[in-house]
Structure formats: C-alpha cells, structure tokens
Symmetry: C2
Subunit: 515 residues, 2 copies
C-alpha cells in the first residue's frame, strides 16, 4: 500500500488485488465532514418513517448486490462465502430492526410534565424531554466483520436510525467490500430522497483519514470496532478536541469461562466440543472468543485431553490479514518455553502460526495450560491473543478464583458452566464476573451475539471505552443521543413525539407515569 492508495491483499494467497482505492485527501475528509454537518439539520428533523425507509432501502440494495459481496468478501478477508452470506443477512436484519424501532417510535423516552400555573409557592412550568441525535458520527469498521460491523453495520445502522449522518472509514483490509456497500447506501439515500452528505465513505488508514476526521468539529461522536491500540488512539484524539466528543470503541476481550466442578467432571466432553468450536470460530477472530478457561485442578488434565481431542480435526484458518497472523504468532511465541505454561495443543515454530506457503496468514489452534497462581502473577497471560487460542487455568478454590477475576481487566463476556451438583450457583463467583463483564452466560458459549432488544455487547474498560453502552441490539441507538428538554414551548416548535395529541401514538411518561 503506497501513501496514496489502498490495495487489498488476498490473505489466502498473499497476492495484491488488481483494484486499488485512492486514499481520501484532506480536502475529501473535510468535505465529507462538512456535508454531514449540513445534512444533520434536515436529516434529524425528518420524521422517523423517512429514515426508516432509508434503512430498509439500504437493506434492499444490499440484497441486490449479494452475489458481488459474497464473491468479494472471501477474496479480501479469507472468510468463507457462507459466512459472508450469513453476515450479509445479519447486516440487512440489523438495518430493518432499527427501521422497525424508530417507526414504532417509543425508544426516544418521551417525558412530559404538564404545567401547574397555580402551584404554590411557584407555578410549575411545562417541561418536556426526549432523546435527540448527537450529530454526525464517524464510523470505523472492523476487520473481522466486514459487513455487520463495518460500513453498513450496527454502528452505521443505529446512528442513521437515531438521526445522525455517518462518515464511514473503510477498513484498509477490505476496501473493495467497503466501496460496494457504501454504494448501496448512497443509492438508497438517493432513492429515498435523503439530504446530500447523509453518508460518505472515506478510504485510508486510521492515521491517514481517521485522525483528521475525528478532529473535525462537525463530527460529534465516534463508533469504532477493532484493536485496543486503534480504539484508544482515536479516543485520545477525541478527548483532546476543543470540544471533546464521545467515543464508543469496542476493543479487546478474552472472555473468561469458568467450569464449575460438577460440569467439569460430568460434561467434560460436551463442553470441550462446544469450546473447541467457539475458540476456532472464524479462525478465532471474534471479540467474544473464549480466550481463558478456568478449570478445577483435579479435572484439568482430563478436560485438557477432551479439548485436545475436540481440536484434533480442526484446522484453524486463515487470518483476515497478515498483520493478525503475525501478531498471533508473536503471542504464541511469547507463551512458549515458559516453565509456568504448558502447551496442550499446537506446536510453536511450526508453519501453522504464520507459515509462508499460503500468504503467511494461516493460524492453527493453540491451547495453553497454567495455574491460577501463575496466571495471577503475570498480567501478560491475560492479554488477548487474537486468533484460535485459549488458556486453561487450573483453580482449587472458588474464592481465590473470584478474587483473581475481580482483579481482571473489563471483558465483553463471562461464562459459567455448571451442573445440578454445582447448585446453588456461587454468588461470589457471579458477582465477581458481573463486576468485570457486560454479558454473563450460563452453560453456553460467548461467540454468538444475538441481535435483539436485550443484547448487551459492551463491557467495562478496556473491553469498550464506555462500558455503559451496547454496540449490538436495539439499545445501541442510545449511544448517538442526548436528552433534550423544552420548557414552556409552543406546540408548533415541539417534535411530534412531545405534542399534546401524541400524533405518533408512542409510549410516553406523563407526569412521571408511563402511558
């Protein structure tokens, strides 16, 4: 990649694609931000059904280029075509879900307190409030979800739904997919009469275009999915602005899994099979990948054997780009040759972790094993190794385990496997996990993230830069809003959601009570 162009590489072959994309110039970055700023007024003032039509039109346009996308994604990311097709469906589903949400309309949390002119000692004013959009949002897509968390992914869908124009930055590893998807959004905007500038795509790296975009005063919030280094760099830029803006960066997580004694002895084979699938799904390139498994010491060897067996037939996979494979190989190397860490599955130095014959991007599964004491003593063992790897950590005391969990960094998920014999579920363990994660699973695996109203995909820092919010599900829309209040306002200047007659028929809070 030169300074002036972005050129994707096929990770499976190491060969560059024929098409290259110009890196957006400072002028193009400025124009995109300014156009988004101009679009904000009309776009946010539009009735929700107009924005809903736009979102649905994007989904329809995406369907119309399904073949092109399903062919292109594997060439840019090494993800299989079936995965591309599935992820495309999820992306369309998200767009339609947000269309339904805003068309129904109650999500704005409308609150009305009626005036009491005769109240003593002071009259009560008429006070009405609801959530309004923040303004243009910069969206940075993920390498590992080229559709569902990229240009038309959850961040874009939720921001547009809220009434925020979007300037998306294509991930440099899949510029072609990004461009095809961006074109569907632009066609949908055109067909549904959206204001110019409601959506723009920029090409280039975070340093090239991301930093100047986040610095631009027209940008009012940032959505990011990717590495901790990248997310924190953008958060620093956003915090240093004359007017700082919120950054919702979804970053690293190793997603601890705890096997309770009964489950570990009674269901070892089944858990090992599920875990093997979860660890290696998408070549381990999921932010919800279970990278840490706490196993009772007395059943740890047996469980390790089951996990080895379950992984015996799993080939690993090709990394999304060579940088991930190199980083994974480095993580494996750093865990090799340590007295306190056993390699249960995998062979360091083999060509399976960063070989040359296939573009250098293949990654084979690794399982490490250590003790709770060793894990607690070395924070490097809690660092994410992005790829198909997990570490078994043996424990003898649930209290000691809970203590270690309480001292861990924030995580997206935590999982407990238990059996009838483990009942009642240890509140000490549950509360320790709850303090460090955004989603707690029981007898399940964290890699599936159901897109629905109740999902929380987010967790305490550094899993996300703002652990109070979710990036998946309908509640993701709240990230792009602020609460706004009108006092003694004339009806005609109020949004429809707050007018007396409730013309949209939404659920509202009147004088404190839901109606």
């Amino acid at each position: 990649m030169s300074n002036a162009t972005v050129q994707a590489v096929n990770p499976a072959t190491g060969k560059a694609h024929e098409t290259s994309y110009e890196v957006s110039s400072p002028k193009q970055i400025r124009h995109a931000a300014e156009a988004a700023g101009r679009a904000f007024g009309p776009f946010s003032a539009m009735q929700a059904r107009g924005r809903a039509a736009f979102l649905r039109a994007i989904a329809d346009e995406l369907e119309s280029v399904r073949d092109e996308i399903v062919a292109l994604v594997p060439r840019e990311t090494a993800l299989p075509a079936a995965r591309a097709g599935g992820e495309l469906g999820r992306t369309m589903g998200q767009l339609r879900m947000f269309a339904d949400l805003i068309e129904e309309g109650s999500w704005v949390d409308a609150r009305i307190e009626r005036a009491k002119p005769d109240r003593e000692p002071l009259p009560k004013p008429d006070v009405r409030s609801m959530l309004i959009p923040l303004g243009p949002v910069a969206v940075f897509g993920a390498s590992n979800f080229p559709l569902a968390f990229s240009v038309a992914g959850g961040d874009t869908a939720s921001a547009l739904a809220a009434g925020c124009p979007v300037v998306a930055v294509a991930h440099w590893a899949h510029p072609g997919t990004s461009q095809v998807v961006a074109n569907t959004i632009l066609r949908a905007a055109d067909k549904t009469g959206m204001p110019d500038g409601v959506f723009s795509l920029l090409q280039g790296t975070g340093q090239q275009v991301g930093v100047p975009l986040v610095k631009h005063p027209a940008i009012r919030a940032v959505g990011f999915t990717g590495s901790r280094r990248g997310g924190l760099a953008l958060a620093d830029v956003a915090a240093a602005r004359p007017e700082p803006i919120p950054v919702f960066a979804e970053m690293s997580s190793i997603n601890p899994v705890v096997l309770l004694p009964g489950a570990a002895s009674g269901r070892a084979a089944a858990i090992a099979k599920g875990l093997a699938g979860s660890v290696t799904l998408g070549a381990g390139q999921f932010c919800t990948n279970p990278g840490l498994v706490f196993v009772p010491q007395d059943t740890a060897d047996a469980f390790a054997k089951e996990l080895s067996a379950a992984l015996a037939d799993v080939k690993g996979g090709t990394a999304l780009h060579r940088g991930i494979a190199e980083s994974f190989a480095a993580s494996v190397a750093a865990r090799t040759g340590r007295d306190d860490l056993e390699i249960v599955v995998g062979a360091a130095g083999s060509d399976s972790a960063g070989g040359q014959d296939d573009g250098g991007a293949s990654m084979a599964p690794f399982v490490f094993k250590t003790t709770l004491e060793a894990f607690a003593a070395d924070s490097r063992l809690a660092e994410e190794a992005f790829g198909p790897a997990t570490t078994l950590v043996t424990y003898t005391s649930l209290d000691a385990l809970a203590d270690v969990i309480r001292r861990m960094e924030g995580q997206l998920t935590g999982t407990i496997h238990y059996d009838e014999s483990d009942r009642p579920l240890s509140e000490t363990l549950v509360s320790a996990l709850r303090s460090r994660v955004g989603r707690l699973l029981l007898n399940s695996f964290p890699t599936g993230v159901e897109v629905c109203s109740a999902m929380v995909h987010g967790g305490p820092y550094p899993a996300t830069s703002d652990g109070r919010e979710t990036a998946v599900g309908t509640a993701a829309i709240f990230r792009w809003t602020r609460r706004f209040c009108w006092q003694d306002m004339v009806e005609e200047a109020l949004p429809l959601e707050l007018r007396d007659a409730n013309p949209l028929g939404i659920a509202r809070r009147m004088d404190g009570k839901m109606t």
Copy 2:
C-alpha cells in the same frame, strides 16, 4: 485554613467560624473508598424497597435537623435562611422522588428475549438485560447549593437510588453544613440497616482529598458540580486511571437569552423585570444564570433602560465565599474600559464589587452592552462571570445571530422570548440553540430548574463534561448505571426484575414489545 483543618468563614463578616474540621487523611480516604467497595455488593443486591426506605429515612432525618441547618447555612454561605429552608425542602423532595422511582421499579429498562430452541439455522438463546449500578460514586458538592447539590443532594440521592454507595467530599466553604447533613445520612443508614460504608463524608479540598479519592480503584464514577477548572481537573484524573471511570461534572454556562423583535418591543418592561430577577437570584450564583441577552439593535437602548430601572432597587448580594467575589470583581474589571463594551448598570472600582466593609464578599449587579460583531470577535466576552452580571448583545440579523450561537460553547440552557408578531418561531434560531444547549425555554427564565421526570440539567461540553445526561430529575439516575445482560441464566440467579413471573410488576420489554 491550614493543611490539617477546614474552617468555614462567614462570608458576610469575613470572620472564621469557631468550629474547624480535620482534613481527611490519606488513610481515611482509603478506608472510605474501601468500605464503599465492600458495601457495594450487599447494597446493590438489596431489593429496591430497602434502598427506598433508606432514602426516605434520610429525608426524615433532614427534617429533624431543619432548625440547625437553617441556622447554619446562612452563616457558612451567606444565603438567606428562607433559601436554606426552601433548598432543604427540595433536597428532601429529591430523596423521596428517587425512593418512589425505584420502588415502582420500571426505570431499570428490563428487556427479555425468550429462547427459541427450534429456530433455524441456529437456536435463539434466552437473553435478558437491565440497568445495573456502576459501583461506588464520589460526589463533590457545589458551593452554591449547600443542600440540594451537596452531601445529600441530587447526585447522592440518584447514586444511592441506583444502588451505588457514595463517598461525598464536603465543600470546603460549608464543612459544618456538610457534616450535619452527613450525620443524617449515617443515622438513616443505621436505622434502616444499610451495610457499613454505604456512605462516608470526607473533609478537605479537591486537591487534598478529591484527587486521591478519584484515583482509588474502588470508586467507579464521579459526580461533580462546580467550576470548570475543578471539574476538568477531576475528569483528567479519572481519565488517567488504569481503568478510566465516567465523570459527570456540571460546570460553567452563560445561558444565552434571545429577545425576538416583537417581544423586545412589545414586552420590554416585563421581560426586563423577569430578567433582573433571574440575573440577581442568589446574587447571580446559579449555573443557569442568564449571562448573555441578544437584543434587536433598534430596541436595545430602550430595553437597556428598562433593565436598568428594574435593577435600580436590587442590591446584589453577598458571595458564597470571598473567592467568588474576587473572581467576579476580576471579570468586571476585565470588561471595563473597553471601547467595544458599554457598562449599562454598575460602576467598576466601586466597593460594590469586592468591598472591604463586609468581609469583601459583596457583589453588586452589572449589565454590559456590546454588538454581535464585537461579541463574536472576542471569546472572552463569552466567559462566565459567576455573579449578578449579564451582557446585552445587539443584533440586526437573525441569521447572523444563529451563526454566532452555533459557534458558542455548550450551555445548560437557551431561552427565546417571542410574541405573536414573531411567529412562526424561527427554525434557524431554534436549531442553532438546540445544538448548543440542553434545555430550551420559551418566554421564561432559566434559573428555575424544576425537579421532575422530564427535566434536563446538562448540556454540551463544557456546560457538562458528558452532555448526554442530566443531573436533575429522575433521569439523573441513569448516570450511575450500565446495561448488563444475562444469557440462558437460571431463574434463581436472575434479579427479580428479569424473572419470568415479574414479581415486582414492573413495565418490561418482552421480545422487543413493551408490556
């Protein structure tokens, strides 16, 4: 004030009080934070009616020391006894409002998506989420609201309601009031059986106790009301922690007021009278003080005359502490002797701004007058002068005014005064103000902040450090929460709010629909 004690000064006399308070030691700070950390588990696990009883007991205890508080507040703050009594009532009202809110229970935004084991291609898991408390909160009270925004004020009430223990830092200017109020909370905690450490009070300045408190890992969020310098200093400390925490700092605001032509000519006397009252309320020491009034040029002189008349009988008042009077005098001095700024009311250099005869803390009202062009050219004219001052800014074009407003810093409030002849209300003006404020008022004055479900007291940075939230009203509770998700969890480990039978009878979202 020595390093080791806090001693209040009577602002009206300049004399130190007899009682002094020890500055909390590093050990006491650590103990308070650790005790709050230990209390968090049992306090947050408690049923809401337990916490509601605690909040109501605090209100009752406050009532029982009404006489003491009403006598003490004026001596520490120079606020009149009637104001102290009124503010005490508001403080009790807030506590009871949050008790009602959590006892009703629906505020947690419970969301349930039921499992569909037979769904193709993948089964749907059972997913449930709601808002849970963040953890112990550090609360920094305001000098200008020694009760309603201090030790037992809105931040403490909303944090306790959410399930967060509180470590409050007494404002150094009213340590005695803080101690009396803290004692009521401790008695209430004792009477209602709250866990040890659910509340602590620390004495000392932000530098002495605030910084180490915010650095302590047990503290999970910060509530602050005060100066921009103080709020941003704590925000920097919070952001530099290994695990950054959210800071909700309510800081400076000059609260622009726009008089439209019809209103300015038709209702000049009435508006001037209301404005004079709003500008000088509490000696101008309100964060919602209207420090900026945009007036049509052709009626500006007439309006200035009306405002002068309305202020002729207003004496100003005594500052909460000498630092405020000195800072106000400096702001006045900086606005004196400028070619582009006329002094309409007030006389610089007079003893009315920082005289010596009364402890040096008196402040007389000032009104300045300038043009939109001069205002736009010098950002110092948009700086807050905390005290009874406002600046009239003359405009000739509503479009030019809207442009200037769009470039202003974030504000808590914006106000428009209009008449029938100004209809329809300019959308250009409304949208400019909306982009820069958290609350928009019509034909009203911003200094009253109604405590209710629909209030928003917060605005774009730097009015608040996080402009998405409110510090007043029931929605203030959301600041201390994060969304948390349980997947495939056994009933017994779910909070009552998410159990199938809905034992609390709260409103919930089932499979995306409100029930």
